[in-house]
């Protein structure tokens, strides 16, 4: 064995230990290694002292670990050596110093130093100069309390130190929490600190313990050191982000006492479910449960919870548990508070209360003993007060958990026979449900999306739980006024405990899961007092039984000719299968946006064919304006006006006339008119409009010319060309423009063009760059499109490509950089990596979290995504501070499910909540008292349709007109944002200004839209469920002068990786990295 052993490295470990890494070469088997210290480096007989240590040999490396306690026994000036035992022989081995830098460690008032300059390992010991606080005992108590005690080491030149205060400071937000409860005994130099986190709840991040000490008349900040052997200690549980967390105290990298909160990952409950049953509206879950780790008597399972998987609605079941863990939970659906209203999947949880926090654990039924038949049922529940009925099925999920599936499928029905003859519909079938005590009242037809009903003649016979029915409609005798040209559905009304429930009649008895294409009925004709009625019976894809009511008139366009100055077409028509030969026919043109119908008479009638002509003078005479017109054929039958849509019938005629271009005739300047047959519906339409770019004959040539020119001149164009744009070239205020501005200002290696339409809304912004602004669809645009290297877009590829290729997105040959127009988080999107022909080279995101959404939910490849931050963030400036009158901004998200009818809008919860807020006297009071303005900015659709519904508000409430200001200005100017789910928050929060989320309809939003983040826990602002809570938050913020809460700095980390106004620069650099 060689005598030389080298010390390569030495460093501190956690738990107050030191590690030495030595290099030695040996082939011997080593039995033991010990540390020896003494005044000389030799194996002489001078006084030597051995230290307790542990060691490990890996190849040629020897690792030795010594505790601080042992290390402190080394006398000053000692030299460290090794005592190696091998083959029963102990030998002293010298260590040669190979350290590259000096090592020092301070504890318990002493500093130990090993210099790299010495040949041997010499330990010098000195009293520390500064003051040291060492905490050597930490205890955790229920009630979120920690007791710390330790020793205060006075430094060599310190006299009469005085501890002023003790505080915890968050590493990220720098927020301080002062601990009032501490005592110091200066005579024996000990201290005690009592930290009650019930009073000072902490949030995520590292909270380090400091003390301000007055030393020699100066205040010094000192870390309180962690001097316990085990490196961490679990504290009490708390609720954070709606889930169970616990406090933990630990030693941080600087050996300091630190606190943080940790999400609980343990499962505390195990289940053995032996029965889930639904009997007479009472649902019972029975079994055994075992709770591990209960720290106090108050910790227990409090109830069972059903939670809807999409909307997160909850229903609570009380639970009874005996001493052995046998439990039963019951819920009666007769109680209207317990209703499971929402269709879909409901997961089942047990709620365990730990230290006052509810922890939800899914109920698992993986146990072998639990047979599926004991937990599976499919039965109806109902509530007579509310007239509510649903079917509930319980089952075991793929993951082995208990779940419920709720549907409207209450009864099983079979339509055995539909007799469609003599103008009569007779439907025979049966209905049953073995688990529901019900009777069948009647069957009728209900208009789809309407109120009208058609009463049927019913015969019902009960036989062995089966209700056989025969329902009859005589189409000849009913009043057709309200029913013509509409669809009706068969509705079956059942009675449960004297209460009527109307249900869809769904033929679901047999195994045909989709009858819509399998079972086809012949058309039924009926003479209704002379009106030629036609009824079509059909199933939809869910097997609901419907009828469509129309007439027997058919009209077909059998010829269509384009003449020089007119369009000529022939129509043949039949009714009740006989060709029509009448002079009392006309064409009716209907425009969806106009109320009046335009009528046109035939030119000629011969051989059952009607000839029509349309030309410019006729259009003028009829007063037809620009637009699209549906064409109907109308005749008089027995004094009834009967009308039908004109259709194409011959495949060749349809194909030849399927585009506007095929028959377009120029009228004046650039207005054309044309007839076309829609290929899908085969309906004939008349249109008057300008030609689209792609329909212009010259345009294609121009485009090809540009392509040729680009090919020829490409080699002479030295700098690569980048086309940048946003929102179809209609605006210049978003990421596209911000990035363009950056490139123009800072970079010069490429030619940059901003693609803009003539009437850009932000014309002012682009004015300074007019030489680099590319007019949408100009020849230069075509040319540069073919030349360019990248399309850099904000909203979509149409931002930069000419209209002529808009319908060929899937063939797009150009590489795309996607700048994005918001942060993807609160709204689910339909987008994936293959969009745009898979040409997206780079997609801008703001954080790793967002990158993961793209990769996991939209299948992007990691290299397609760049974490840089949005361009427009670079230009955001907070202008609110200078405002004398502070502004509050209120921006609700658009809910497309509230559209169309005004009555629906006015009765919606959305309208009522917002109008209630805006008219609230308390809000007006706050605005008045603190001299504030509230700017209300409803979605453009609401502005357009229902703005008058928001009139006559307080004078301090201003409804923002989108034409007069930009969202960006609003963001910059205001001090507080109130929204629900709008991604505007990410711009607002970027400026570190507070946000309050007003989420009164979270369940609805989740059902309609869905979100990638948890809208309860991941948001960067306070959440108010009610108007009252919202007003409280508003006054809170008003009183703190809109101070941003530090916790949201931490929550923001998820959404922004950078905050440095270099987003555009990073994007530019990432683009340049693409090969």
């Amino acid at each position: 064995m060689k005598n030389n052993v080298f010390l390569e490295k030495i460093y501190r470990l956690k738990n107050r230990r030191i590690k030495l890494i030595l290099n030695m070469e040996t082939r011997e088997t080593i039995d033991h290694v010990g540390i020896i210290v003494g005044p000389t480096p030799k194996a002489d007989h001078s006084f030597k002292h051995s230290l307790n240590s542990s060691y490990k040999i890996i190849d040629n490396n020897l690792e030795i670990i010594i505790s601080y306690k042992e290390f402190s026994k080394i006398p000053d000036g000692s030299i460290i050596g090794l005592m190696i035992t091998s083959e029963n022989q102990a030998r002293y081995i010298e260590i040669i110093n190979h350290l590259k830098k000096k090592f020092s460690v301070s504890f318990s008032g002493e500093t130990y130093l090993i210099s790299e300059k010495e040949d041997r390992i010499k330990v010098c010991k000195k009293s520390s100069k500064g003051l040291i606080l060492e905490c050597d005992e930490i205890l955790s108590y229920k009630g979120k309390r920690f007791e710390l005690s330790g020793i205060l080491y006075n430094g060599s030149n310190i006299h009469e130190p005085k501890i002023n205060n003790v505080y915890l400071q968050n590493e990220d937000t720098k927020e301080k929490v002062f601990i009032e409860n501490f005592t110091v005994n200066y005579s024996v130099n000990t201290f005690k600190i009592s930290i009650n986190l019930n009073i000072h709840p902490l949030y995520e991040g590292e909270w380090n313990l400091f003390s301000t000490i007055n030393v020699n008349n100066k205040d010094e900040i000192t870390s309180i050191l962690f001097c316990k052997e085990q490196s961490k200690l679990q504290g009490d549980y708390l609720e954070y982000n709606n889930s169970l967390h616990y406090y933990e105290v630990y030693e941080n990298k600087q050996s300091q006492v630190a606190f943080h909160i940790v999400k609980n990952k343990r499962k505390f409950i195990s289940f053995d479910i032996n029965g889930v049953a639904l009997e007479r509206n009472l649902l019972t879950i029975q079994g055994f449960l075992q709770v591990s780790l209960i720290s106090s008597k108050e910790d227990k399972v409090t109830n069972i919870i059903f939670m809807n998987r999409d909307t997160k609605e909850k229903v609570n079941l009380p639970i009874d548990i005996d001493n052995n863990g046998a439990f039963s939970a019951k819920i009666s659906f007769d109680d209207e508070n317990n209703l499971i209203k929402e269709n879909g999947t409901w997961d089942v949880f047990a709620a365990l209360c730990i230290s006052g926090v509810n922890e939800l654990t899914r109920i698992n039924i993986n146990s072998n003993q639990t047979s599926e038949e004991f937990i599976s049922f499919s039965k109806p529940i109902y509530n007579n007060q509310l007239g509510f009925i649903k079917n509930v099925r319980s089952y075991k999920t793929v993951g082995g958990n208990l779940a419920l599936h709720v549907t409207d499928q209450i009864v099983t029905c079979d339509i055995t026979k539909a007799e469609l003859e003599d103008g009569r519909t007779i439907v025979n079938g049966f209905v049953f449900n073995g688990d529901l005590d019900f009777s069948l009242k009647d069957i009728h037809l209900q208009k789809i999306n309407g109120e009208e009903k058609i009463i049927c003649k019913n015969e019902v016979k009960k036989d062995n739980n089966l209700f056989y029915f025969k329902t009859e409609i005589d189409w000849g005798t009913i009043n057709i006024k309200e029913i013509i040209d509409s669809d009706f559905q068969f509705i079956i009304t059942i009675i449960v405990k004297d209460k009527e429930y109307p249900l869809e009649l769904v033929s679901n008895f047999d195994d045909i899961s989709n009858k819509s294409r399998a079972i086809i009925y012949p058309l039924l004709r009926a003479n209704n007092n002379g009106y030629p009625l036609q009824v079509r019976h059909f199933y939809n894809r869910k097997n609901a039984f419907l009828v469509s009511i129309g007439n027997t008139l058919n009209a077909y366009c059998i010829a269509l000719r384009k003449r020089r100055k007119e369009l000529e077409f022939e129509i043949s028509s039949d009714i009740d299968q006989t060709l029509i030969n009448s002079n009392d026919v006309e064409l009716v043109l209907k425009n969806r946006n106009l109320d009046n119908e335009i009528k046109l008479s035939p030119q000629k009638n011969a051989n059952n064919k009607y000839l029509f002509r349309i030309n410019e003078s006729l259009i003028k005479n009829l007063g037809l304006s620009i637009g699209s017109y549906e064409i109907f054929f109308a005749i008089k039958v027995n004094n009834f006006g009967v009308m039908t849509r004109v259709k194409g019938i011959d495949a060749r005629i349809i194909e030849r006339n399927s585009t506007f271009k095929s028959n377009a005739i120029r009228m004046n300047e650039n207005i054309y008119y044309s007839l076309l047959i829609d290929q899908k519906s085969t309906s004939l339409n008349f249109e008057i409009r300008e030609l689209k770019v792609i329909e212009k004959s010259g345009e294609k040539i121009k485009f090809l010319l540009a392509k040729g020119l680009a090919k020829m001149t490409r080699r002479f164009i030295k700098k690569p060309v980048w086309l940048i744009g946003e929102n179809l070239g209609e605006i210049a205020q978003d990421n596209g423009f911000a990035f363009f501005q950056y490139c123009m200002k800072t970079e010069n290696s490429e030619k940059y063009y901003y693609v803009s339409k003539q009437d850009n809304k932000n014309a002012e912004n682009i004015k300074p760059y007019h030489a680099n602004v590319l007019l949408y669809d100009s020849f230069k645009h075509y040319f540069l499109y073919w030349v360019c290297q990248y399309l850099i877009v904000s909203h979509g590829i149409r931002d930069t490509i000419p209209s002529i290729v808009h319908n060929k997105l899937n063939n797009n040959p150009k590489r795309i950089i996607y700048l994005q127009h918001g942060i993807i988080a609160m709204k689910k999107l339909q987008f994936n990596k293959d969009s745009y022909n898979g040409k997206i080279k780079k997609f801008v995101v703001s954080s790793v979290h967002e990158k993961n959404i793209l990769i996991e939910k939209m299948n992007f490849k990691p290299k397609q995504v760049m974490v840089t931050g949005l361009s427009r963030f670079d230009n955001l400036i907070d202008k609110s501070k200078d405002n004398k009158i502070k502004e509050i901004l209120l921006i609700p998200t658009w809910r497309e499910w509230l559209i169309d009818s005004k009555t629906e809008f006015l009765t919606s919860e959305f309208y009522n909540q917002y109008i209630g807020l805006l008219r609230d006297p308390h809000l007006h009071g706050i605005l008045e008292k603190y001299n504030l303005i509230l700017k209300f900015f409803p979605h453009i659709e609401i502005q357009r349709k229902y703005m008058d519904s928001f009139s006559s508000l307080n004078e301090r409430i201003e409804v923002v007109n989108i034409d007069k200001t930009t969202v960006r200005d609003l963001i910059q100017e205001s001090s507080l944002l109130i929204t629900d789910y709008s991604s505007v928050v990410f711009d607002f929060n970027y400026l570190r200004k507070p946000v309050v989320f007003f989420q009164f309809d979270l369940h609805d939003y989740l059902r309609h839209r869905g979100s990638y983040v948890d809208l309860r826990t991941d948001l960067i602002g306070d959440i108010a469920d009610t108007k009252l809570e919202l007003l409280n938050y508003i006054s809170e913020y008003v009183k703190t002068d809109f101070k941003y809460k530090p916790i949201y700095n931490i929550k923001s980390k998820k959404y922004y990786a950078y905050h440095d106004q270099e987003n555009s620069k990073r994007i530019y650099e990432e683009i340049k990295k693409i090969k």
Binding site: T416, K417, A418, E419, D511, I512, R517, A518, I519, I520, Y521, P522, N810, N811, P813, N837
Partner: protein, 392 residues
């Protein structure tokens, strides 16, 4: 050893496709190198599950918008579009699928056959068999498959068959009578003729035969005789209005079949169902299978129905005659005799015990079409042919 199949569309449905898929899977499981050349590709993946070791080579991608790649140059598109419009010269005009071929496919087909230089080439329709003789390499063992008897082919094709089939190495027929028929026609050639039935798996499940459902499946074409079936079943309903007939398929005759159902006022009982890839499951949920074809060379679908214990009623064409043992595991009806067909259906409808008896027998009797038997025949054929080739 490499085995190449040439088929029209391995991505489609129907008996031929299933048979090829079954044999190809069998060979792949025996570690042969298997490639299937499919003229067309109509979906992302074949409907029948294929061994992942099998190489698929579609000649043209007939899916919407997939014919050209995004960057196919314009002149090429123009040329291809032109070729696609010119009728085929390689495929015989009498071939059922003639209209689906064109000059573009001809060119691709010719070059793909010429490229095969070793192993076995198995071709599935007469025109392919002929092309195999014309263009493939001498070293290749050329096996043709024949599903019809000789006289069933039109005269023009008959001439070609006489001229070229003799130069095949092997020809497989489905039935004994077909084999005898071709041995007679091709007695001057060197070709060896085999009888190999189409093979199937016997599923574990067996139909309970308690549902009042009769089914049929296949293209809606004149040949399949569904019009006859509708007429026959319309008579059945008069006695048994609670029985239903489900016909699975698609095709040009749909409209006229639908009108016939309306005419017969049988729309409550006869359903034209969209084609399905779960036909076995549908068979398990039925009680009788009805085969009403005007001609059927083999009747793969009968074997499938029988394999889940469903008794069949069928017109006694060549194929069914060999598959069904009349009054033992099914009922054969004189070809075209609708009244007898109705009566046979009634016989089975009215006796559950008879259905069960025949169903059980049927499941036993189709054992001869399993891979153990049929696969063995194919392996024998290949080995014999390889020896033959080595000799010469």
């Amino acid at each position: 050893m490499k085995i190449t199949f040439l088929v029209y569309n391995i991505y489609g449905m129907g008996g031929t496709v299933r048979t090829v898929a079954n044999i190809a899977n069998f060979f792949a499981s025996k570690d042969y190198l298997v490639e299937i050349i499919s003229i067309r590709r109509t979906s992302e993946n074949p409907l029948f599950i294929l061994d992942p070791k099998i190489k698929l080579t579609p000649l043209i991608d007939a899916r919407r918008g997939m014919l050209f790649r995004a960057n196919t140059p314009g002149y090429k598109k123009f040329l291809i579009n032109l070729l696609l419009k010119i009728p085929s010269i390689l495929i015989d005009k009498n071939e059922d699928l003639y209209k689906m071929f064109n000059l573009f496919i001809d060119l691709k087909l010719r070059s793909v056959i010429k490229r095969i230089n070793k192993g076995v080439l198995i071709t599935t329709i007469p025109s392919f068999n002929i092309l195999s003789v014309k263009y493939s390499n001498k070293a290749v063992i050329k096996i043709g498959q024949e599903h019809k008897f000789f006289e069933a082919h039109p005269e023009g094709l008959q001439k070609k068959i006489k001229k070229y089939y003799g130069k095949l190495d092997g020809l497989t027929c489905l039935t004994s009578s077909d084999k005898a028929n071709y041995e007679d026609v091709l007695k001057e050639g060197q070709v060896k003729i085999y009888k190999i039935e189409n093979a199937t798996h016997i599923p574990e499940e067996t139909a309970k035969l308690d549902k009042k459902v009769i089914i049929a499946a296949g293209r809606f074409s004149y040949e399949k005789g569904y019009d006859l079936l509708i007429l026959a079943f319309s008579e059945v309903i008069k006695k048994h209005p609670d029985w239903k007939l489900k016909i699975f398929g698609t095709g040009g005759e749909e409209e006229s079949l639908r009108n016939l159902i309306f005419e017969q006022k049988a729309y409550n009982n006869i359903y034209l169902m969209p084609k399905t890839d779960k036909i076995i499951k549908e068979m398990i949920n039925s009680s009788v299978y009805a085969l009403s074809s005007r001609s059927e060379s083999f009747g793969m679908v009968l074997i499938e129905a029988m394999s889940v214990g469903v008794p069949c009623v069928s017109f006694a064409c060549t194929g069914p005659r060999e598959v069904i043992l009349d009054h033992v595991d099914g009922l054969l009806v004189e070809e075209g005799n609708i009244e007898d067909f109705t009566n046979s259906l009634l016989t089975l409808i009215e006796s559950e015990s008879l259905r069960k008896e025949m169903g059980t027998k049927a499941k036993e009797n189709v054992e001869r079409y399993t891979f153990n038997i049929v696969g063995g025949k194919w392996e024998e054929l290949i080995q014999e042919q390889v020896k033959q080739k080595q000799k010469s």
